[in-house]
Symmetry: C2
Subunit: 241 residues, 2 copies
DNA sequence: GGCAAAATTTAGGCATGCCGAAATATTGGG
DNA sequence: CCCAATATTTCGGCATGCCTAAATTTTGCC
């Protein structure tokens, strides 16, 4: 008889969880599926390790993959990924709201804990926090049944001069950047207006804060890409409506 | 040059932590150091696995061991063990007090989490809980600097008829037993009086609860060994004082 | 004191995940 | 359209921690 295929229902090893989570994260904001080497870079492992593990993920029916082509999650894989994302974001919210962690301190701790906590633990923790819809960086928290509502948002970078909006998400990929935002008092839900760009590919000039006491600031590309805003309808568009 | 000995300052792998914790736990209530095979039983691994790992622990300077003799913690080993015990008991307290876990549900979850949390996490969690002195089963929680105060207590089993006392500790080794105690409304700090023993090695008869509305109960050996009491001064002893 | 039983250690293997190097497949520029 | 650069997979190895089976040492009983 054929070797029994292991159940994809269990949450898999810590490594399996990491792979699936990174595959998911890649497609959360782009529509192209991730390639083997991109996955290797993001996980900090060798390409050969990815090839091996992807074979295992296929066997677990968590991803679809033909040799030499990109890697895509199956529905079971997506389910597992969403479980991990929920765990991560609930934990981050808890660390900030209940244990007084700073913004930039929570990622690594959550990264470790997410592999260890039970679903019961996360669900009770979420309930205690009032079932938050987003984490301290504005990332949406999937519900226990695996549904997410990703709010409409664009990177500040992509907005033209004159546009205004509200910050709905601040990427936690770079802890230094988070500390910079803290020091500049840039927070979730702050209003923001794009003033313009310095000439010759220079910094983005933006105005932050409540319309009364706004501060003008130059942002580099990295910073401007890390801030996601819900854009207000543009004056020009209003004419069309 | 000789192979560099790995630093014993880091907390070691999850397995190392488990070994050290079990070695410590064995001597917490007995003074004989643990043997290789006892360690194997408590960890649920083969004797050969213990031999191997003990060699590693010696190399990490966490235990002292000569072949074929018992295993004892070094001061670094004891320090690590107390760290793990603190983590475990703070986590258990949190699960019960903040997440509404029942008594008998916390052990396994804490067992997993204790290997993953940071010291910062535990210390902030302990602070939030008001730096509790003991966990939900009455076990003392070591302080962050590695000191423990183990309260005086004897197993209920060992008390003679007529003695009274207060329950200060309920072993969490057996979840079924914890559920039994719950169902019988036996709780930490309850007063208890040993009435006597059923004849021919029978059950221990005890009276529980506030002196007004006490319930009498037969306890088997397992149950009587799991309950630790702070014994009141015995009437006979009072004469001597 | 010696010998069998019990405890312990050593030897050889397995699974997981990682690596670097070598082989193979795909791709794009000329 | 072909060949070199790039991407991907295969191969042999390493480390950790576990196993069973086979030595080896200790212990206790006669």
């Amino acid at each position: 008889m054929p070797p029994a295929r292991k159940s994809a229902l269990s949450s898999g090893s810590s490594s399996v969880q990491d792979y699936v989570k990174v595959i998911y994260a890649f497609t959360e904001w782009q529509d192209k599926p991730i390639t083997s080497s991109q996955l290797a870079v993001r996980l900090g492992v060798a390409n050969s390790s990815v090839s091996e593990m992807v074979r295992k993920l296929v066997d677990l029916q968590l991803v679809d993959h033909r040799p030499y082509s990109a890697i895509e999650l199956t529905s079971a894989g997506r389910r597992l990924a969403l479980t991990m994302v929920r765990r991560h974001r609930v934990l981050e919210t808890f660390l900030v709201q209940e244990l007084g962690y700073a913004w930039d301190e929570v990622h690594d701790e959550a990264e470790l804990l997410e592999h260890t906590v039970s679903d019961t633990f996360i669900n009770r923790m979420a309930a205690k926090l009032g079932d938050p819809q987003r984490d301290p960086h504005g990332d949406p928290i999937p519900s226990a049944d695996g549904t997410v509502h990703v709010p409409h948002a664009v990177q500040l970078e992509e907005l033209d001069g004159g546009h205004t909006g509200r910050i709905t998400r601040i990427s936690d990929a770079d802890a230094d950047l988070l500390r910079f935002f803290s020091s500049e008092q840039i927070r979730l839900d702050d209003r923001v207006e794009v003033v313009g760009r310095r000439p010759f590919g220079g910094a983005l000039v933006v105005r932050f804060g409540p319309s009364g006491s706004a501060r003008e600031l130059d942002l580099g590309d990295q910073a401007a890409a890390a801030l996601w805003v819900h854009s207000d309808p543009h004056p020009g568009c209003l004419l069309a409506s």
